[in-house]
């Protein structure tokens, strides 16, 4: 047997021989433990989803205009946006979150029916601004990839520069952004776990808490939360695939 094979076998054995027996993996008691705590993990999943949606939305609202400024802007604004992007992309996300929470000290937000804690606000701001820095690059590349003749043709019928970008270039660039956006969504979803640094317990942190409590259930807990992550990424990616297909520009054979 090769060295790699021996290593793999050793790894499997270290998970416990029973872990690979019927019912497929794990001990019944450990699965019961996971299911008993499903509510606890579910609450973590909700926080993960909330952080992801909030961050992706903020990232889009800030990142899209930022990408457009990087392509079409000039002067101080373009330089400021460019510099902010470099700083955000170059700073570890833990540092960004800690700065948001402990240094900037964002307040709690009251929405009447519910309130968002200052830690969650800081998490969304930190993850969202960093996502904006990456999304701006997705849009920048997509805007730049649209042939210059498109903008020129728009100008030739009397559209202003802004209108030509708005009605001609942006609709095409958004379509081309979808694959990059799918990546970014998946990355943000998984990076939400880093909010543990500011005391928030989302899905992964809660999973860690659980298997620390019942150490025989490591595999079961990890499989359970992985399945949740998988469902979230899979459904969202399929939804974006559908959107991409729905708005795809038809291509003929004659072209």
């Amino acid at each position: 047997m090769s060295a790699g094979g021996t290593l793999a076998l050793a790894a499997v054995e270290s998970l416990g021989a029973t872990a690979l027996g019927w019912p497929f993996v794990g001990e019944a008691a450990d699965w019961e433990f996971v299911l008993r705590n499903a509510d606890y993990l579910g609450a973590g999943a909700l926080l993960t989803i909330g952080l992801t949606i909030g961050s992706i939305l903020l990232g889009f609202l800030v990142g899209f205009p930022a990408g457009a400024v990087e392509v079409y802007g000039d002067g101080y604004l373009e330089r400021a946006v460019n510099a902010a992007g470099i700083v955000l992309r170059g700073t570890p996300i833990v540092v960004i979150l800690i700065v948001m929470y402990f240094v900037v000290g964002v307040p709690q937000i009251n929405l009447g029916v519910a309130s968002i804690s200052s830690a969650v606000t800081a998490g969304i701001l930190g993850l969202g601004l960093r996502s904006a820095a990456y999304q701006s690059q997705i849009f920048r590349a997509a805007l730049s990839s649209v042939d210059a003749g498109q903008l020129e043709a728009g100008r030739s019928i009397g559209l202003s520069r802004f209108e030509a970008v708005r009605y001609v270039v942006v609709p095409q660039a958004l379509r081309r952004s979808i694959p990059g956006f799918q990546n970014e969504f998946t990355i943000v979803l998984k990076d939400t776990s880093i909010v543990f640094a500011i005391g928030l317990a989302e899905l992964l942190t809660r999973g860690y808490d659980l298997f620390s409590e019942q150490t025989t259930a490591v595999l079961e807990v990890i499989l359970f939360i992985s399945a949740i992550y998988f469902v979230l990424t899979f459904t969202t990616n399929r939804a974006l695939d559908y959107l991409g297909g729905r708005y795809a520009i038809p291509e003929g054979e004659s072209a």
């Binding site: 042939d147 003749g149 498109q150 020129e152 043709a153 728009g154 100008r155 030739s156 019928i157 009397g158 559209l159 202003s160 209108e163 009605y167 001609v168 609709p171 095409q172 379509r175 520009i249 038809p250 291509e251 003929g252 004659s254 072209a255």
Partner: protein
């Protein structure tokens, strides 16, 4: 010869960096005239055309269009362009819009027509270029000749007073050139004022009121087609026409 009461281009010069690409170019057009710019590639004819709707900026000279100085810094270029249609060598159709969407965009967003009125105008213009049955086709679903006819309809939908054609058939397969020239012939018959850059010499000969021969940014010679084609005064003109003819 025209007295230039509609378009008068006077001593237009343009540089790209240190390189001068137009040298004191002058010509005139009356309303309803068809002027064809010919010349070897790199002679500046497309650049000259683009200076008329300010897609390129001339640094010196004057272009008066219907009483207005096009090169004035005070002119609203968007207003200028809504009155001057442009047809591109590479079609440049809006890739995400149908044929009707391409033609309707200007009337909708620039002229402020309602969605329905813009759509109706688009249908009328596409019928005018023989594409009444392709309203909902996307550019990529159309042949090159059809795409260029949509390009012409898109420009016509703004009801321009001057049409600029920048090598409208140069990107087309030979068998598709005819349908585009036919549409252009139709516009000539309707009395459209047209400034055309083309290598289609037989088209130029048939429809042009004046031919302007440009070489290395200079107007070498200009005149009515029968004179310029049959009895060119300059040796350079003759050499160019011989070279072109050997390709026909």
């Amino acid at each position: 010869m025209s007295d230039g009461d509609f378009l008068s281009v006077t001593d237009v010069s343009k540089w790209y960096g240190d390189e001068q690409v137009l040298h004191d170019v002058s010509f005139e057009m009356d309303r309803g005239d068809v002027t064809v710019l010919i010349g070897p590639s790199g002679s500046g004819k497309s650049t000259m055309l683009r200076c008329v709707n300010r897609l390129a900026e001339a640094q010196k000279g004057s272009i008066r269009l219907d009483g207005d100085e096009v090169l004035s810094p005070d002119i609203d270029v968007d207003d200028l362009r809504r009155e001057v249609g442009m047809v591109f060598q590479g079609f440049n159709l809006f890739a995400h819009l149908t044929a009707a969407g391409n033609v309707a965009l200007g009337p909708r967003r620039v002229l402020g027509l309602s969605e329905a009125d813009a759509r109706e105008r688009a249908a009328d213009q596409l019928e005018r270029v023989g594409l009444a049955d392709q309203l909902d086709s996307y550019p990529a679903e159309l042949s090159g000749g059809q795409q260029q006819r949509v390009g012409i309809a898109r420009a016509l939908a703004m009801e321009p007073k001057l049409m600029l054609f920048d090598e409208p058939t140069s990107a087309l397969d030979p068998e598709l050139i005819g349908e585009v020239l036919e549409v252009m012939h139709g516009l000539v018959d309707e009395g459209m004022t047209m400034l055309v850059v083309t290598h289609e010499m037989s088209f130029a000969r048939e429809v042009a009121d004046e031919i302007v021969f440009l070489d290395e940014g200079h107007v070498v010679e200009r005149g009515p087609p029968e004179q310029l084609f049959e009895r060119p005064e300059k040796e350079r003109t003759g050499r160019f026409l011989e070279r072109i003819a050997s390709h026909d």
